[in-house]
Point group: C2
Chain length 227, copies 2
DNA sequence: ATACAGTATATTGTATACAAAATACATCGT
DNA sequence: ACGATGTATTTTGTATACAATATACTGTAT
């Protein structure tokens, strides 16, 4: 009874945050497509709230880079260009390498164990062919490394950068021919972390991102060729 | 006449952005101190606007990490702890090194010239003793490098990270005994960029940040010892 | 004097109302 | 038929109003 009450108070989220999460998810999954306008009244009606929380959510999406504002014309979903994605990946490459280096210094034995089982989970997920499961296993693996840095702002930064790649992650995962390489890369990262070999860990992460970059950029080119 | 009209339309900024800039500056300069509550009606009265633009500005400050929200209690200026600053600097170290590496590949001869004169401007600024002028010259120097990467998202990231260090930048600059070292570091960075030597450029940047870190962390310890 | 209860006040969260600008559309003239 | 002009509509930008919660205060009982 009291427990239940506690839970409900803990679960309180301002509507603006509910809207923010909803819109973000819609953008990342592609329900809201690049260039699409976000009209306040329309969204308000659709989500059953007033314009106020909608507007506040849009302000956050704006700073996050998921929507762009045009003065007196409102918000629209940010376009993804090859350049913008390449910019993101360029940063991601360095940041992931940093994560690996820091993790070498700070990862605990317990986290190393969890990392290894996350690695094995990923390999198992690859055998099954469910793309969502594979993607989730990949996220879990990398999350352990980022968390092991103990740098909360770094966690947040990686999250934001990952977000930008989200729509293309699936393309990368869908390419089954690339799976053996991913498995090898994960193994290399694991190995380096276990040895606490910063150079090797960082380099493995760079290779890992470089490979992702190849398939993501290829996909974008294919997409833009269509239009 | 028409020109004037053009200017005024160009200069249009929604009130939310005016408020956002105003509050951000107030936080960075320390007019609004860590832990201080941002009360909407109070701010609205003070700035002569309604609560709506205030709230939207706060949403952006929230995502930027300059304020933290407490549900149903509103916003307060984020505290700066040694840990949070150390987290920022850890990222900044890697990101600045990345900037240097990319700049090695992409900086134009014209930008190299401007960089060199910015370096000399800094040396001149150091001779005069105006801290604000010195800080500005330092910013100009580093801006050229970041811009030379041609990566707009990287520019934005560096800006955000710099922001967090802003309040302590002056302490670093104020320490006149450190100036010769800074001058040498700038020269090393310049030199490496001219030679397009990525390793040297990156390493110089790391050293540069490590030195900043020392003085900033020392300052924070001194501050927290007072309280 | 101190702890507590109950009320008043202040503050946030949300919804609505109003103003200004941008867009769409229809009418008119050529 | 085409373009221009003026009006209607839509949409954003801003202000205000209302509701719910948290905080501060006051008085009372111990």
């Amino acid at each position: 009874m009291l427990d239940n009450l506690q839970i409900t108070t803990d679960e309180y989220l301002p509507l603006r945050d509910v809207v923010f999460n909803t819109l973000r998810k819609a953008i990342l999954t592609g329900d809201l497509k690049p260039g699409e306008r976000l009209m306040e009244i329309h969204l308000a009606d659709k989500l059953g709230v007033s314009r106020t929380p909608i507007r506040e959510a849009i302000r956050k999406l704006e700073l996050e880079g998921l929507v762009v504002m045009i003065p007196r014309r409102g918000a629209q979903v940010a376009e993804i260009t090859e350049k913008s994605m390449s910019d993101v990946l360029e940063i991601r490459r360095a940041v992931d390498a940093l994560c690996a280096e820091l993790a070498c210094e700070r990862i605990t034995d317990e986290e190393l164990k969890r990392l290894n089982s996350a690695r094995l989970d990923f390999e198992k997920a690859v055998e099954g062919k469910d793309v969502t499961v594979i993607a989730q296993a990949d996220v879990s693996f990398h999350n352990i490394i980022v968390q092991a840095t103990g740098n909360q702002r770094l966690v947040q930064l990686v999250e934001n950068l990952s977000e930008q790649m989200y729509r293309y992650r699936f393309e990368y995962i869908k390419d089954f021919s690339g799976h053996p390489a991913i498995i090898k890369e994960h193994a290399a990262i694991c190995e380096a972390l276990k040895k606490r070999d910063k150079l090797a860990a960082a380099e493995s992460c760079r290779v890992h991102i470089d490979n992702q970059k190849k398939s993501i950029i290829a996909r974008i080119r294919k997409d833009s060729a269509k239009h």
